[in-house]
């Protein structure tokens, strides 16, 4: 199953449909889609890395915690990311994020929400829809 994301209609906020063969792939696509929605452009002359560790009671909570941690890093240090190395140990996620300082960020996301969030098994992997407060 291919991985990917696409924006779907929401009256006031943003929603993203994401699909991937497995959970780490789904999280990676969700992160890429979220950063793309924000219109992030990265500098080419400098690279940087960050490490994020999150744990939760279920996969949906883990996904939200991971994405919110990325938003936090982006806002605090004005950085963006384009590569993700994710390792799952049960319901603990260890993520290495590679990216660069931001050249431009067109829109900010206030938060990743749990609204109707469900990671669904599909024929060849997993799929979910994430709503962002903007």
């Amino acid at each position: 199953m291919r991985s990917g994301y696409k924006e779907i209609q929401h009256t006031a906020d943003w929603a993203l449909q994401v699909w991937a063969p497995d959970l780490t792939g789904l999280m990676q696509q969700a992160a890429l889609g979220m950063i793309a929605l924000m219109g992030a452009r990265l500098r080419h002359d400098r690279r940087l890395e960050r490490t994020i560790m999150v744990s939760a009671d279920d996969n949906e909570s883990l996904l939200v915690a991971f994405l919110n941690s990325i938003l936090y890093e982006m806002e605090l240090d004005s950085v963006g990311f384009d590569r993700f190395e994710l390792k799952l140990d049960g319901l603990k996620l260890h993520a290495r994020l590679a990216g660069a300082p931001l050249l431009e960020l067109q829109k900010s996301i206030k938060a990743v929400t749990f609204h109707n969030l469900e990671i669904r098994p599909v024929e060849a992997g997993l799929e979910t829809t994430i709503v962002f407060d903007v």
Partner: protein, 483 residues
């Protein structure tokens, strides 16, 4: 999906989804809408979200929805839910991520005709002095202890620094400071986000707008507020910035693990909650009040910056360029209030998300100056359309938990607006209409295009006709500053 025939008509401006509509509803949902606005609402999930809100433990009859309702996440925008103190819950998602997002209105004696030639200078001065845009920091770089003071003091922090007047505070909801704020209940991440964002507008639908009072409907109330036809006014719409967003994020995440401990089952995880008398509920309220006070202070500092901009652009051009505070009001907030229910006083936690407190005449919470006319209710429009000043009524106290609408309400998704509207063309159109635009992002401007919103006049006519607020004055924009 709910259908029109599932909803009972009470009168032309009031409808009800009965408690019997769904098994898990604890109370009915009361809608203040016209038939046309109700048909609009059936086009998205706002009614389903209102029904979900009616399942919250301890929720009291009824959940209320305003005519500017639209689909949000978990709880509808334009929704009001009151939960009993004794056995009810507090739900961070039912207040929203932008805690104490709200509107401040300042009035003036500045005649539009006299300053029209220098409006462009005024727009530049406002744009320069009021930091706006994605990730933009302000001039106040706080130390940790100062941030804690802002959390505890709210707009009073600005008064101590000489950046506010006593009148500003008196004419602010809760005098600009909620009791019970405790910054020790706020995470270090939220505090880091809050250190450099005080005194900033942000982006999205937040704005600073200079308007002209183009029509007065209630001369006595308008005079009390210092609003006169033909004179300028200033609106500031923003909230608690990343500080509030992080506080809500932290508690929505944390409560996911604890909600099961209280045996609470919810139809949507974004409605996650905690009993008001639980340690988790009390911690959230203390943190939420910290963010609310940060937002009161934020709007106060922006008002101070706007006053400096007016001085810079108008001193020497117009005699009295000063701005006086009309009112400052939250539209995303959870408040412990006492309401009269079946003749008895009941203490409740009123969740307002995209809804404005609208206390009627005589309410002891109002400053002396407004006690006889009712609380000013500020209803901003979308760029290029009117905004409204209303007052709360006795009816709002008895029928809508002392609440009214908060704005126009979106009807078009942001992506659709961006597809259909070009930011540069929109700016040109607005400027051709005599509105000076200063916008940090043209795509951002396109997302907030007037056609993406309902007709604010229709929304206001609905609450006026329903009796839950009364029209005082209409404002038309002449300068719009957006991040």
């Amino acid at each position: 999906m709910i259908r029109l025939q599932d909803i009972n008509k009470i009168n032309d401006y009031e409808w009800e989804i009965p408690q019997s509509y769904r098994n898990d509803m604890r109370v009915a949902v009361r809608l203040f809408v016209t038939h046309r606005l109700l048909e609009d609402a059936l086009g998205d999930r706002s009614l389903e979200q209102a029904i979900n809100a009616a399942t919250l433990p301890g929720v009291m009859q009824p959940v209320v929805v305003m005519p500017d309702m639209h689909q949000g996440y978990g709880f509808p925008i334009g929704g009001v839910a009151a939960t009993r103190i004794t056995d009810g819950v507090v739900s961070p998602g039912a207040i929203g991520y932008d805690i104490n997002c709200g509107v401040r209105l300042l009035g003036s004696q500045i005649d539009l005709g006299a300053v029209e030639p220098v409006l462009s200078n005024l727009a530049d001065a406002l744009n320069r002095r009021c930091p706006s845009g994605v990730g933009v920091a302000g001039e106040y770089h706080l130390k940790d202890a100062e941030l804690d003071q802002v959390c505890r003091l709210g707009a009073r922090w600005a008064l101590r620094k000489g950046l506010a007047t006593e009148e500003d505070l008196l004419r602010t909801e809760e005098a600009g400071c909620l009791d019970g704020a405790d910054p020790t209940r706020v995470s270090s991440q939220a505090k880091k986000r809050g250190l450099n964002q005080l005194g900033t507008l942000g982006a999205g639908n937040h704005f600073i707008e200079v308007d002209v009072v183009d029509r007065v409907f209630d001369a006595r109330a308008a005079q009390t507020m210092g609003l006169q036809e033909g004179m300028l006014a200033l609106q500031i719409h923003c909230g608690s910035r990343g500080f509030g967003h992080q506080i809500c994020t932290d508690y929505v995440q944390e409560l996911q693990s604890t909600v099961h401990r209280y045996g609470i089952k919810l139809p949507d995880r974004e409605l996650v909650c905690a009993p008001l008398d639980s340690p988790e509920g009390k911690d959230y309220l203390a943190a939420m009040r910290s963010a609310a006070n940060y937002a009161f202070c934020n709007r106060q500092l922006l008002a101070h910056a706007a006053r400096l901009a007016f001085e810079e652009a108008l001193a020497g051009v117009f005699g009295n360029w000063r701005l006086h505070q009309v009112y400052d009001i939250a539209h995303n907030m959870g408040k412990i209030e006492t309401h009269l229910v079946d003749g008895k006083k009941v203490k409740v936690c009123v969740h307002r998300k995209g809804a404005t407190r609208a206390f009627g005449p005589g309410s002891p919470e109002l400053p002396d100056v407004y006690r006889s006319i009712g609380q000013p209710v500020l209803v901003p429009g979308s760029m290029g359309t009117a905004s409204w000043v209303l007052v709360g009524t006795t009816e709002s106290m008895s029928r809508s938990w002392g609440s009214s609408c908060h704005g126009a309400g979106r009807v078009m998704s942001r992506s659709q607006a961006k597809r259909e509207v070009r930011g540069d063309r929109l700016r040109h159109e607005l400027e051709a209409d005599g509105i000076h635009i200063r916008a940090g992002s043209l795509p951002g401007l396109a997302e907030e295009a007037p056609r993406a919103y309902k007709d604010v006049d229709e929304v206001v006519e609905t609450v006026h006709a329903a009796g839950i607020a009364r029209k005082v004055a209409r404002l038309q924009p002449v300068i719009v500053i957006k991040g």
